[in-house]
């Protein structure tokens, strides 16, 4: 099955800083999702982005499917952005099963 790698595994920022999280995947995909797991454990769907760029407030994501990577940008970070960010792609082909990366743990200090 497909492999998903996220980098960096850990990231510490000061409030107001910008950051870029990366997700590499080993095979062609027809969709990709980014999730945020907050410190209370809740998983929030941030983006459904098979290709191109999407923006939602201070967050934006870009997927370059032909080069098998996706980037999540966080601008003007806030303490509430802390948590773990996961990307997920279909297990194989058009599968309805998602495979998750191990995540990037983000800590934003005041």
């Amino acid at each position: 099955g497909i492999q998903v790698e996220q980098s960096p595994p850990d990231l510490i920022l000061q409030e107001g800083a910008n950051s870029t999280l990366r997700c590499n995947f080993s095979d062609s995909v027809n969709n990709l999702q980014w999730f945020h797991q907050n410190p209370w454990g809740q998983l929030i769907n941030l983006f459904y982005i098979p290709s191109g760029t999407k923006q939602n407030g201070r967050l934006s994501a870009t997927t370059v499917a032909t080069e098998r990577y996706s980037l999540l940008y966080i601008s003007s970070s806030q303490t509430t952005d802390s948590g773990v960010y996961f990307c997920a792609v279909p297990y194989q082909g058009g599968s309805e099963k998602l495979v998750f990366g191990k995540g990037t743990k983000l800590t934003v200090n005041p």
Binding site: F35, G41, Q42, L43, N45, Y91, E96, K97, V99, F100
Partner: protein, 110 residues
């Protein structure tokens, strides 16, 4: 939570006892999933369903069974709980714009 609830939220059970976790959705989605989340392993798929009475295994299905007798309910059963099944269990539904997760069930097997 976009119409998805899990119950119970927390449970402590003894080794060898059967345990059933419930996932309920109010949005009539076809696909439902059970994942477990463990430190160092991220999110791993246990079982999923693609319709009433239609289910399939994920990557860590041993020791688990599922049932879906109604569109809105997807049950996960640990047939004889073991300490290795101590974990946080998440249910998810697949909507038009990706997955939505429930709040999770923290299960401890003692």
């Amino acid at each position: 939570d976009a119409g998805i609830t899990q119950s119970p939220r927390h449970k402590v059970t003894e080794t060898g006892t059967p345990v059933t976790l419930r996932c309920h959705q109010t949005e009539n989605h076809r696909y439902m999933y059970w994942y477990r989340q463990d430190p160092g392993h991220g999110l791993r798929l246990i079982h999923y369903s693609y319709g009433v009475k239609d289910t399939d295994k994920g990557e860590v299905s041993d020791g688990y069974s599922v049932s879906r007798s109604k569109t809105e309910d997807f049950l996960l059963t640990l047939e004889s709980a073991t300490s290795s099944q101590t974990s946080v269990y998440f249910c998810a539904i697949r909507g038009l714009y990706g997955y939505t997760f429930g709040s999770g069930t923290r299960l401890t097997v003692v």
